[in-house]
């Protein structure tokens, strides 16, 4: 039965009464430009402007307008949200669904049926709720601290406060609020674009801003003024430099000019890390700006072997006997805040050092790579052999074909390919073309039969995008991997239409389909996995091609996979 706040029942007590004029409805998430005086509406308008375009220039313009006009606290929170500093979830989604259904006067099952069709929980809630009866001029900052404070309250009070909040917001504000409360807030803007917009709004140079935005801050520990306008990055000893990221070299290096201007290294298959030694302490940052210091305690001894005032960019690798262990070994240590002794002994890590960002307390990012490399070599060579740091050796080559041959050896050396760095280049920030390139080995591929399909979420709601693939073992198809990406939208629509017509069985949201279509699955690595029926697990599997030309019978076999495992596992 519907909840206490359901609308009055109509004649015969069957259907909810619907107002005859129906002028109160405001259907979709739509925006109004005038948001003066209502900071949450202003933020919702920003969200809408970003959502309405795929053009980078328009996204940057929307953001820089916002960074000029919004209250400073809200600007800071927006920067925090766009750099992945989201508030934690304080209400379970189960409760939110129940409360929304009750407030909308619909049974929970009806809400649950609507959710997968909409494809997004925050949006489903925003759409089913009746229009707000009150207005509020509270800020984004206010609502976020409100969401955070919910965790102190008992459930009844949480519910009262969430319903009260819903009742004060328009559709888009509600949607954004729901995204914040469920901890899943994303705006489709990279940190790079955000930094560019912030630079336009403040006049502070982009690389400088990128550096200020790094590290361990939150809107509760700083202010917009302190972080963006007045901040001196060196005051914070743990603050990392922005990582420089390489672009993939799709066509090979032949157009890069004189090989003598370039240095090459192996592309290591570990975790990118920035090691900071300052003020008697050490900090290890991931590329995702996560502090990983405690996960790799064996690196703490580097404080004794390297001088303070040193910042090294490198790769954390599981390593024994002068060779990397398979990524699977390192994987066991990812996601563990503390490491048991056994694992420390089984999969000890080192830092494979490849660049030097700070030397004797000075930021050396602007001097050429060749000079930084010399300084780095001197530092690392001075450390004793037991120190868990190794230089990433340069791969000598005098012409591009020689480098191509070196690249072919990558898998044998447990590397993913080769890296190219221009000898006279500074250490830049973010992903920028020109000075650093990664030239990965070609992926491994296998032709597999599509056997299960499931619908996606969000932008991919109502499309079948999540697939399970199988290879032959005799006359049986053995599932061995899932893949979600690699097809165009048009191909996803086409396969979706086919799945609907060729479903053999349904298991909840999963459909077993006719084993008819063959896809080329590309992947970066293969390892043994007792948890999978096939006995193997793939790294980064994706659909490289839809093999319309290949009948299911001609797909690969489990034996083919086992041979790959033997060769590359």
């Amino acid at each position: 039965m519907v909840g206490a706040e359901a609308p009055a029942l109509g004649a015969g007590g069957r259907c909810p009464a619907v107002p005859a004029g129906r002028n109160s409805g405001r259907g979709a998430l739509h925006f109004r430009h005038s948001a003066n005086g209502n900071p949450m509406k202003r933020f919702a308008n920003l969200f809408t402007r970003l959502d309405q375009t795929t053009k980078t220039s328009l996204k940057v313009a929307a953001l820089s307008d916002y960074f000029r006009e919004a209250p400073e606290d809200d600007r800071l929170w927006t920067i925090a949200l766009l750099s992945g500093r989201r508030p934690k979830r304080t209400v379970t989604t189960t409760r939110l669904r129940e409360w929304a259904a009750e407030r909308a006067g619909i049974p929970l099952w009806l809400f649950e049926e609507s959710y997968p069709i909409v494809g997004d929980l925050a949006e489903t809630i925003a759409l089913v709720l009746p229009d707000a009866e009150e207005e509020s001029d509270r800020s984004l900052t206010h609502w976020i601290s409100h969401i955070k404070s919910l965790s102190q309250h008992a459930e009844e009070e949480r519910k009262r406060q969430v319903l009260e909040a819903w009742n004060q917001m328009g559709k888009t504000e509600r949607f954004v609020f729901n995204k914040l409360i469920t901890g899943g807030f994303r705006m489709g803007v990279s940190q790079k674009l955000m930094t560019r917009a912030l630079s336009q709004a403040t006049g502070v140079e982009e690389p400088d801003l990128a550096h200020r935005l790094m590290g361990d801050w939150s809107p509760e520990t700083t202010s917009y003024r302190a972080l963006i306008l007045e901040h001196d990055p060196s005051a914070d000893l743990s603050k990392p430099y922005p990582f420089y990221l390489a672009y993939q070299l799709d066509e090979g290096p032949w157009e890069l000019g004189d090989p003598a201007e370039w240095a090459a290294e192996r592309k290591w298959d570990g975790i990118r890390g920035q090691l900071i030694l300052r003020g008697g302490d050490h900090y290890l940052w991931s590329r995702g700006e996560e502090l990983m210091t405690d996960r790799f305690p064996e690196l703490a001894v580097l404080k004794d072997f390297l001088p303070m005032g040193t910042v090294i960019d490198g790769e954390v690798l599981a390593w024994t006997q002068d060779a990397p262990l398979p990524f699977a070994q390192l994987q066991k240590r990812i996601g563990r805040k503390t490491v048991p002794k056994k694992l420390l002994a089984e999969a000890p890590v080192i830092l494979k050092a490849y660049d030097l960002l700070e030397h004797e307390g000075e930021d050396v990012r602007s001097i050429p790579f060749a000079e930084r490399r010399n300084l780095l070599e001197t530092l690392v060579e001075r450390a004793p052999p037991e120190a868990p740091v190794r230089l990433s050796p340069l791969v000598p080559f005098d012409h591009w074909d020689a480098l191509a041959a070196e690249r072919e050896r990558s898998r044998d050396l447990q590397a993913e390919g080769v890296m190219l760095k221009r000898l006279d280049s500074p250490y830049r920030d973010g992903r920028r073309k020109g000075d650093w390139w990664k030239w990965k080995v070609d992926p491994l591929t296998v032709d597999a039969v599509l056997i299960y399909a499931q619908q996606g979420h969000g932008r991919r709601a109502n499309l079948f995008t999540d697939f399970t693939f199988a290879v032959w073992s005799g006359n049986e198809l053995v599932p061995f991997t899932k893949a979600y990406s690699g097809l165009t939208d048009a191909e996803f629509r086409r396969i979706t239409a086919w799945v609907r017509k060729n479903t053999l069985e349904r298991y909840g949201p999963v459909r077993a389909v006719k084993p008819e279509h063959v896809f080329e699955i590309a992947f970066e690595g293969i390892q043994e996995s007792p948890r999978h029926k096939s006995g193997v697990a793939l790294r980064f599997p994706r659909m490289a091609r839809w093999r319309h030309d290949k009948p299911a019978q001609e797909a690969n076999t489990l034996n083919d996979l086992r041979e790959m495992l033997a060769a590359y596992g």
Binding site: G12, N23, G27, S114, V128, A461, R493, A497
Partner: protein, 340 residues
């Protein structure tokens, strides 16, 4: 128990007593047609019966067919069964079909919309014992804004594009939606150009005396750039095709009920989505069904099983009717050429 007044066959809805079918999808002798859209008015029937307002559009689409016309509210005896057509508010000329025999009344809704749109004959609630209702948007997430609000959004978008030197290309279904937009927007903002498929329908409606603002047909000879800041009404399938190149810098929009869903809006890759539907929303469906006073409700076209369960819980004797036509589902909404 005698045979029901209307039955559901593999040709569509059938009235055995009256010897006719309603919106049949396979050829029959006598087809009563609610409106001219392709999933309701099919080719190949021997005789058609439609409203006077719907007939020209049907002839335009189906060619030389044998159509007899009726006025709204006019009662016909067919095989001893009393038949009448009543406005459905879906598109100009669209009807619900009321069938009565010995005091038992059934109504086939066809497609319908309860909010007046300023162009279609407004929806007329009918009392009946059994109601066959579409439920294209039969989920509580679909709640439309009043048309005036959507029209002002479109006007705002158009005026802004014009001020910034862009043409506004709006995708909308060629029969019904496009004309509804024409009637709702502010023609003083700028010139209005039309895709051929839209203009063909405009001509049919103008010939029937429907007042529409002036429009300019886009032809290969037309210098599209001579109409800066125009609103271009196009079929959804024309968006993103080479046909659009002639207009130069353009912002694209799409008008459909499906635009209520962010995922669909983003997949369509139009710059703007306007939530404007020719179908009833959740509240509209519930109100319309309640107002019929019917005990038995058959649901078709849309989220039928979900909507049927909802109606059953509300105390109706509700059933799902399968149809050969998916109608305007989310799947086809992605393909472009749909109403909705």
């Amino acid at each position: 128990m005698t045979e029901p007044l209307l039955t559901f066959t593999d040709r569509g809805i059938c009235c055995p007593k009256g010897g006719f079918h309603i919106d049949p999808w396979r050829p029959v002798d006598r087809a009563l047609v609610t409106h001219g859209h392709a999933d309701h008015a099919r080719p190949g029937h021997r005789r058609y019966l439609a409203t006077r307002a719907a007939a020209p559009g049907m002839r335009h689409r189906l060619g030389d067919i044998d159509v007899e016309t009726v006025e709204y509210g006019e009662v016909r005896e067919i095989g001893g069964v009393r038949v009448s057509y009543h406005p459905a508010g879906h598109v100009p000329g669209s009807a619900q079909i009321r069938v009565e025999h010995r005091g038992e009344v059934w109504v086939v809704s066809g497609d319908y919309k309860v909010e007046p749109d300023g162009l279609s004959e407004p929806f007329e609630p009918l009392r009946c014992h059994a109601f066959i209702s579409e439920c294209t948007f039969g989920l509580p997430v679909f709640k439309w804004q009043p048309q005036a609000e959507v029209a002002s959004e479109i006007n705002g978008w158009w005026a802004k594009n014009k001020a910034e030197g862009r043409v506004s290309v709006l995708g909308a279904y060629a029969l019904g939606k496009a004309q509804r937009i024409l009637a709702a927007v502010d023609p003083d903002i700028g010139p209005i150009l039309t895709h051929g498929a839209v203009e063909n329908t405009n001509e049919v409606l103008r010939a029937q005396g429907v007042a529409l603002p002036d429009t300019i047909r886009v032809t290969p000879e037309l210098d599209a750039k001579a109409h800066p800041g125009a609103l271009v009404l196009a079929t959804p399938s024309a968006l993103g095709t080479p046909w659009m190149r002639r207009f130069g810098p353009a912002s694209t929009g799409f008008a459909s009920g499906w635009m209520a869903l962010r995922g669909v809006r983003r997949r369509r890759a139009a710059d703007r989505g306007f939530v404007m539907s020719d179908h009833a929303d959740w509240e509209g469906l519930n109100a319309a069904i309640r107002d019929t006073g019917a005990e038995r409700v058959f649901v078709t076209h849309g989220y039928t099983s979900i909507f049927c369960r909802w109606l059953s819980e509300q105390g109706f004797d509700a059933q799902v009717v399968e149809t050969a036509w998916e109608g305007e589902s989310l799947d086809t909404a992605d393909e472009g050429e749909v109403e909705g």
